[in-house]
């Protein structure tokens, strides 16, 4: 059956029988009724990947992030170390990628959506985030145990999923080029559907110990229909 047939069928049904056309398929297939998001909530469920690799984050106008002088020196040192030895990258030790770097890993991400939370399952080293859509970020996030992936809280702002995160450790990099951050990092992710199969995303980085001002970068995710997440396992010692 060609891709167009369902559309034609739908158009015919609408023309012949408005009642039939109104009997839409059950929303949120597979999801128990009590967990279904409110009608009209954008559907991000599925497996997604970036269409092209982004190794160094840039601002929206394509410029380098506004590093403070000390952080610029750290960044230069990271770049130099990485060139000399790829194992200087924290993820070479199988440490977690951190946020937002996890999104930029060259692996797909599965998104499973519920009324009260959103689950991100990244193929890379089977790393997941479970983000509440009902509970705020802990007020003392910076005083809690610092985490690789931080503490996160999400909400829908119109049709945009907004996730705020804080409480990170300072051991991860923000991207694959070695961009550093401090434990004062705050990250805002925004996910917005552009058509059914594309997410236009933004990440805003706020870290007064690393950058002179908050800055924003953009990303795109496209659906990978039918893709099954593989078991990806990081091993320091052995090739799996």
């Amino acid at each position: 059956m060609s891709m167009k047939s369902p559309l034609i069928a739908l158009a015919l049904a609408f023309a012949v029988s408005p009642v039939a056309a109104l009997a839409a398929p059950a929303p949120w297939p597979g999801l128990p009724a009590a967990q279904r998001p409110a009608p009209g909530t954008p559907n991000l469920v599925g497996v997604w990947a970036m269409p092209k690799r982004i190794t160094a984050l840039k601002t929206l106008d394509g410029k380098a992030p506004p590093l403070l002088p000390a952080a610029r020196a750290v960044y230069r040192a990271n770049i130099k170390a990485l060139k000399a030895d790829p194992n200087s990258d924290p993820v070479a030790k199988c440490w977690m990628q951190g946020v937002p770097r996890l999104l930029y890993a060259p692996y797909p991400v599965l998104i499973a959506q519920e009324k009260d939370r959103i689950n991100f399952v990244h193929e890379v080293n089977h790393t997941f985030r479970v983000v509440s859509l009902t509970r705020p970020l802990p007020k003392d996030a910076d005083g809690l145990d610092p985490l690789w992936l931080g503490y996160s809280a999400g909400h829908w702002q119109g049709k945009t999923l907004v996730i705020d995160s804080a409480g990170f450790n300072d051991k991860s990099w923000l991207d694959y080029s070695g961009l550093p951050h401090s434990d004062k990092l705050r990250v805002r992710e925004e996910y917005r559907l552009a058509g059914a199969d594309t997410i236009q995303g933004r990440v805003t980085i706020t870290d007064p110990e690393t950058f002179s001002r908050p800055w924003t970068t953009a990303f795109t995710l496209v659906r990978k229909p039918g893709y099954e997440l593989k078991e990806s396992v990081c091993s320091r010692d052995r090739k799996m």
Partner: protein, 277 residues
């Protein structure tokens, strides 16, 4: 492994079991954990919240954790020991002898790899279920293990590789989620001290069940079949308590970030052997 409130609690639990004589008092060395556990016992229970799980019998969302106590009639105390074949017993003996000689043969989880099946299901850490078209996803706190139950397949696709957690297909029988897992690699075990051969197949039957306290558990019957290592299938029944308190009190919806790789203080060498450090 990063020490978090949750891992600490699991440690306290292990210490408690140790003191109860299950493994001998000699192993109870970590007094700070013991003291912590005693302080927890004295403190008023602050987070018990008997919120019932979703009423839909097929809705397993929420946080579940293997119940510490036998709350359900015909419970885990009666779990039989596995019966090995000669080949299985030889491997048990090899592992035991190596350990007695100070060279512990590490299994997958000790190396920060996915725990394998059904070892993962037996792990005393919280889990979450989430649903999407054709799949049910199980998220485990322990070493961020992820299992994907393929509800849209009746068998693994051709060419499926051998992996730590294998390939899992599932279907509903009434309100029981039945999962079948195979295609596991040779680095996993059935349980910490139960080795396995290459033909291991694991069937799990997950269903909600009322316990004798009147609350609802998630009960699972795990059947491990291994014609090479087990003389007959090993069947274990476990009960997962619904932990709305954990979901409420612990950030990240009840699953604490678990970074095994960050500080694996007793990591095995490339030969899979752990020696005391």
């Amino acid at each position: 492994m990063q020490r978090s409130p949750k891992t600490m609690r699991a440690g306290a639990w292990i210490a408690a079991l140790t003191l109860m004589g299950l493994a001998g008092a000699a192993a109870a060395q970590d007094l700070s954990i013991l003291e912590r556990m005693q302080a927890e016992d004295k403190a008023p229970p602050k987070s018990f919240e008997p919120t019932p799980p979703p009423s839909d019998p097929r809705d397993f969302t929420g946080v579940w954790e293997v119940s510490r106590f036998a709350k359900t009639q015909g419970d885990t105390a009666s779990t039989p020991e596995p019966e090995f074949t000669a080949m299985g017993l030889a491997e048990v003996k090899r592992l035991a002898d190596s350990e007695a000689g100070g060279r512990v043969v590490a299994d997958a989880g000790t190396q920060c790899f996915p725990h394998g099946m059904p070892r993962l299901t037996f792990s005393p850490y919280p889990i979450r279920f989430t649903y999407m078209p054709g799949k049910i996803v199980m998220l485990h706190e322990v070493n961020h293990n992820v299992r994907i139950v393929h509800m849209d397949r009746s068998a693994p696709p051709p060419g499926t590789p051998l992996t730590f957690l294998g390939y899992t297909v599932g279907h509903w029988e009434g309100n029981t989620l039945v999962t079948v897992t195979d295609h596991m690699n040779d680095q996993t075990r059935i349980e910490a001290n139960v080795p396995r051969g290459p033909k291991l197949k694991v069937t799990e039957r997950w269903t909600k069940a009322k316990n004798i306290l009147g609350t609802t558990d998630l009960a699972v019957t795990v059947t491990a079949e291994d014609v090479d290592f087990l003389a007959k299938p090993w069947v274990r029944r476990l009960y997962f308590a619904y932990r709305s308190d954990v979901e409420r009190d612990i950030p990240s919806e009840g699953l604490v970030e678990y970074s095994c790789e960050e500080n694996n203080r007793n990591a095995p060498g490339a030969d899979h052997i752990v020696t005391a450090k």
